[in-house]
Homo-oligomer: 158 residues x 2
DNA sequence: CTAATAACCTAGTAAAATACTCAGGTACTA
DNA sequence: TAGTACCTGAGTATTTTACTAGGTTATTAG
């Protein structure tokens, strides 16, 4: 499980899409300006996001990018793995001899940690992420449970 | 919160130390061989771990490295931050103007995610990590709770 | 229709981080 | 006092990151 600035760029851009999800497609030029990320760099990142079917590209005037699913159905883990080519679970796994068993032990341990981090990030959706911020400002009087699901967003896409 | 191969190397090495914690100091040469990490690279990593007082170096014959604290008192988060110079919480925070508020929004959101990941990794100790594997093999008949604390290791260090 | 728009694609490149090597030095202990 | 093993720093190859440049293709507003 790799987690670097590159993943942050992708998540940031996806959050931008999620925020403007109701208003139709967002152009990369807009994201580039508002988030301060290079346009061509964004194009490269979105090429991968598109291949993993997290976003849909719409060409021509009035076009842009749109989330392929609802914000509450896309997890941070999905975005990061889409960018970073997934989890690389060590090199020993099946290839090497695993000399003293020692080597494989720590590898297995680390793989498990990677899985745990993935599961953790998989529980955080784009919607839950934005909600926690907006809800605090807009809806304050409502009692809120520990559920991370976004409450009022049952508008189906396409 | 950066999380890359470098951190994995450090955690792996620290796990090695934790496993042999009862048997006295472990030399970097041993870790180098068993884990397949370059000796000089290990020395660089351990220089940082030592500065953050996670390990203690013992010179001379029979020397090596030892954990400065008990395995159940060292978290994975500590190891990673010791290596990677801590969390870099975006660049905008206080310096930039935060033009439309939009920019700062995602930054705040991301900072929160970083903190959550940190808290998550902070809850995982070296001991809890190893225990879960060894316990499964050695002690099987015992009923185990959800507690991650290592049960039988109340031997004080130094 | 056509011209503007914006996605899409490919290659290259500077800067940084990573992983490692080399060459010494220093402290400890047997 | 010799040897072990920590410790330091400088240098380097590789990889990743972040970006630039220059195009092509599809779409649509006018």
């Amino acid at each position: 499980m790799r987690l670097s600035t590159k993943g942050r760029y992708a998540v940031t851009a996806m959050l931008d899409l999620a925020i403007h999800h109701a208003e139709g497609p967002v152009t990369l030029a807009e994201i580039s300006e508002s988030q301060g990320i290079s346009l061509s760099y964004l194009e490269q990142l979105f090429a991968r996001l598109r291949k993993h079917e997290l976003v849909v590209g719409l060409r021509g005037p009035g076009g842009g990018y749109r989330l392929s699913r609802r914000p509450q159905d896309i997890s941070v883990a999905e975005v990061i793995t889409a960018i970073g080519e997934g989890i690389d679970a060590t090199q020993c796994e099946g290839k090497e001899n695993c000399q003293e068993g020692e080597r494989c032990l720590t590898h297995v341990l680390w793989t498990r940690l990677g899985n745990e981090i993935y599961e953790f990030l998989n529980g955080i959706t784009l919607a839950s992420f934005i909600e926690r911020d907006n809800v605090n400002q807009v809806i304050r009087r409502q009692q809120q449970g520990l559920d991370v699901m976004a409450p009022g967003l049952n508008k189906t896409v396409a």
